[in-house]
């Protein structure tokens, strides 16, 4: 057989044993490990928030830094590494949004290829998000540098609400439901799955970029992240083509924005003993 060979099943002389319950469950959910990744991401975010990083001067603003309740300010160069980890963790907690897509592609593939299919789709998706994270991270950093934490959060909240009403957002969200039945040929499958993952990542980024940026400028606050993932999840299980639910999600985003503002304000206040001046944190 060539490397592209689909497996020849067991001949009748060796009938397959009845699968155990856990095997069936695992077969039904070849994407199970994505949930582990998401939980790990959540754990990282909470840990960073609780453990915290030292206060540092805010880049670009020229003003004294402050402690974000232990969470890193995106404007703090000393927290660059922490920010990178936090971004990866944020991407990780978004992974459950594509489990249905991954599951479909895997279950439309031969058993022995399902793990690779899952990896390839997720890899394509993650690559786009990592690239977007760099762009959004730098953008957020500049935004904070110019406007300060609070105004940056306010601006991104407005942008996120506005984006909910954009036709491109609606189309991207609808496309997030797209599925792929990969080719059986191993090489073609790899290419198709990565390409599909990239397309999925593109649509996810187009759909959710303001929310991700908001999470970042809110210093990856786990509460803000959890609420934002909740909004994204809600959008996915709604019918975007039937009911974009823009009113509901807009209200939710405003609430999240307020939550982010309050948390950043309070944390800064508690950390410095005095409230930050809006626009000059």
């Amino acid at each position: 057989m060539s490397s592209a060979v689909a497996p020849i099943p067991a001949p009748r002389s060796t009938p397959a044993a009845a699968p155990r319950r856990w095997q069936l469950r695992r077969e039904r959910h070849p994407e199970w490990w994505l949930w582990v990744v998401a939980v790990a991401g959540g754990w990282v975010l909470v840990s960073e928030f609780l453990v915290g990083v030292p206060a540092a001067p805010a880049a670009g603003s020229g003003h004294g830094g402050h402690v974000h309740g232990g969470a890193p300010s995106i404007g703090a160069p000393v927290g660059l590494w922490t920010h990178a980890v936090a971004w990866l963790a944020m991407i990780a907690v978004m992974v459950p949004l594509i489990t249905a897509n991954v599951r479909f592609a895997a279950r439309r593939s031969p058993r022995r290829a399902r793990a690779a299919v899952t990896r390839n789709v997720v890899a394509g998706w993650a690559i786009v998000w990592v690239g977007a994270a760099i762009g959004l991270g730098v953008g957020g950093w500049l935004l904070i540098g110019v406007f300060g934490d609070l105004l940056a959060i306010a601006l991104l909240t407005v942008a996120a609400v506005g984006w909910q009403h954009a036709p491109l957002k609606r189309r991207s969200l609808a496309r997030c439901h797209g599925v792929l039945a990969p080719p059986l040929d191993r090489r073609r499958s790899r290419r198709a799955c990565r390409g599909y993952g990239v397309g999925l990542g593109r649509d996810c980024v187009l759909s959710c970029w303001p929310l991700m940026a908001l999470m970042a400028v809110a210093a990856h606050n786990p509460l803000v992240v959890a609420s934002t993932v909740g909004v994204a999840w809600y959008e996915r299980v709604r019918r975007p083509h039937h009911d974009p639910a823009t009113r509901e999600t807009s209200v939710a985003i405003v609430v999240i924005g307020v939550l982010a503002l309050v948390s950043v304000y309070l944390i800064a206040h508690l950390g410095n003993g005095s409230p930050p001046v809006p626009g000059s944190t």
């Binding site: 057989m1 060539s2 592209a4 060979v5 689909a6 497996p7 020849i8 099943p9 067991a10 001949p11 009748r12 009938p15 397959a16 009845a18 699968p19 069936l24 077969e27 039904r28 599951r103 479909f104 279950r107 439309r108 593939s109 031969p110 058993r111 036709p167 609606r170 189309r171 969200l173 609808a174 496309r175 997030c176 439901h177 797209g178 599925v179 792929l180 039945a181 080719p183 059986l184 040929d185 996915r236 299980v237 709604r238 019918r239 975007p240 083509h241 039937h242 009911d243 974009p244």
Partner: protein
């Protein structure tokens, strides 16, 4: 409660077919059309667009939406049709009695297809009865007739539209209350729709055949098991509206054929979710589909999901019992149904004159392993794809070889697989650039050049029905744009060809059921065709 009887459209008693139930149906439809502003313009634009002709504004979807957003009255045909599907954005849905319309609610491609449409018919029937009452007719005794096309073995005339739906003018002597004469003294037929293309007398009987569906051993398969069932795949999450409304993975056999294939066969307005229910044939077609569910549940002894107690407490059971179907009513209230509410039809105020099954094979196919243990296939794995072809773009006919493995594997026979293997022929990523105009006969293992005859049970795998494909192909924010999926159980065909069939080099042929229609502009494509076994 009075229990009204839904009767066969093709029945004796009236030489012109205009039985009383059709007279009053037509009378009510006339009233409902009168409450639907711009309907004639809508149908003209639709007809032009379907024929590929330019429309006045150059954007038929926008033009149709602009008209449909006036249809806010639940007593109108326009409103009722848009419950099934609409081109109108939700922000533009009209209000009536202080409540915004509740449109685009239809359920296809999964196990809620049948209960949702049953509730839809009950709601529609009440509207029709209200109109009949206003006209002084026998509202309480009236029930929707059904188009008994699936009983074509008894009389092939039933493959044609029932007589009252044919022709734009009422026959002499037929009086429909409330319908005024035209200037020339003739009376328009409210049950006529000018956009229809069929049924085509040369397209065979398969589009109207329910045998394959009625022989399925399960009502539904567990979510994503990728098999073939009578009613469609389970949706475990009742709150996942995205899955509910378009993108689930397993269409029920009845949903595909004869339901979807009949939509395709009649075509015109019937070819699209957004316009199908504007054609009066839609309702009597679905009445028959609903009747076939009764046939399956009662006459064939399968019961309803969870009726026997199996599966209670599962996620599927939770979903089945809690998923709500909501309908806005003329008085501004909203009625909510759940699947268990619609299972006893006498409680809904109707029954059928007969639910007897059409002739079925004396020897029915062996149910798959596990059928007796779990009716929903929880204990079964997903089929394993072996051989593939694609992407392909069928027009009239298409012949492809599904291949898998290396050169040395091409001669592997069926005997290399377990005796209990079930075989599935799957079509993924079915897309079209325009509304589909035909279904396709599917043959497997047919040698190149051999005649393709649906009567050839050894090679004929079934019908590839395409209703809903266009809607799932739109990439404008109304769908994911990834098309639809279909699957056929070809276990019997593979077994019949066991001596010669080569699973890793399987011939598949598609032939259009309506080759006489212009299929060139449909732009149909299929991303992947696979032969799978489990």
């Amino acid at each position: 409660m009075i229990v009204a009887t839904r009767r066969a459209a093709w029945r004796s008693g009236s030489p012109d077919g205009w039985h009383d139930d059709f007279i009053w149906y037509a009378a009510a439809i006339h009233q409902m059309k009168a409450l639907t502003p711009g309907l004639d313009d809508f149908l003209q634009i639709l007809q032009d667009a379907l024929a590929g002709l330019p429309t006045p504004g150059g954007d038929p979807v926008a033009e149709l939406a602009a008209i449909a957003q006036q249809w806010g009255d639940p007593m109108s045909l326009g409103y009722q049709s848009q419950v099934h599907g609409t081109f109108v954005d939700k922000a533009d849905w009209p209000s009536h009695n202080g409540q915004q319309a509740l449109w685009r609610e239809c359920a296809h491609n999964h196990w809620f297809f049948l209960p949702w449409h049953r509730a839809y018919l009950v709601e529609f029937e009440e509207v029709v009865r209200a109109h009949i009452a206003q006209l002084g007719g026998p509202a309480e005794e009236w029930a929707l007739p059904y188009w008994n096309f699936t009983d074509h073995a008894a009389d092939s005339a039933r493959l044609a539209l029932p007589l009252p739906l044919q022709g734009d003018t009422l026959p002499a002597g037929v009086v429909v209350p409330g319908v005024p004469p035209r200037a020339d003294g003739t009376f328009p037929n409210p049950l006529f729709n000018p956009t229809r293309l069929g049924p085509d007398p040369n397209s065979g009987t398969e589009w109207a055949t329910a045998t394959t569906a009625l022989l399925r051993p399960h009502y539904a398969n567990q979510e994503d098991t990728g098999r073939v069932s009578f009613g469609g795949g389970v949706l475990e999450d009742p709150n996942n509206a995205a899955l509910f409304h378009r993108t689930s993975n397993e269409i029920g056999q009845l949903d595909a054929q004869p339901h979807g294939s009949t939509h395709n066969e009649v075509n015109g307005a019937m070819a699209l979710f957004e316009t199908a229910a504007l054609d009066p044939v839609f309702w009597i077609h679905h009445s028959n589909v609903d009747r076939l569910w009764e046939t399956y549940a009662h006459d064939l002894g399968h019961g309803y999901p969870f009726q026997a107690g199996a599966g209670s407490g599962t996620q599927a059971h939770q979903s089945w019992t809690t998923k709500e179907f909501r309908f806005r009513r003329a008085d501004g209230t909203t009625r909510t149904w759940k699947s268990p509410d619609v299972l006893i039809i006498k409680n809904l105020g109707y029954e059928y004159d007969t639910t007897a099954a059409p002739p079925l094979p004396a020897v029915t196919p062996t149910p798959p392993a596990g059928s007796g243990i779990d009716p929903f296939g929880v204990a079964e794995g997903a089929p394993e794809p072996l051989a593939e072809a694609g992407p392909v773009s069928p027009a009239e006919d298409l012949e492809v070889t599904l291949s898998g493995g290396g050169d040395a594997d091409q001669e592997v026979g069926v005997d290399a697989f377990p005796d209990s293997a079930r075989w599935v022929l799957r079509f993924d990523g079915i897309r079209s650039g325009n509304p589909t105009r035909t279904s396709y006969h599917v043959f497997i293992g047919l040698p190149p050049g051999a005649e393709a005859d649906p009567a050839d049970t050894e090679h004929y795998a079934g019908l590839l029905s395409l209703f809903g494909v266009r809607e799932a192909s739109r990439d404008d924010g109304t769908s994911a744009g990834d098309g639809q999926r279909r699957q056929l159980d070809v276990t019997e065909q593979v077994s019949a060809q066991a001596a010669t069939f080569r699973p890793l080099a399987a011939q598949v042929r598609l032939t259009a059921t309506n080759p006489g229609r212009d299929l060139s502009g449909v732009q149909l494509s299929i991303e992947r065709i696979t032969l799978e076994f489990a």
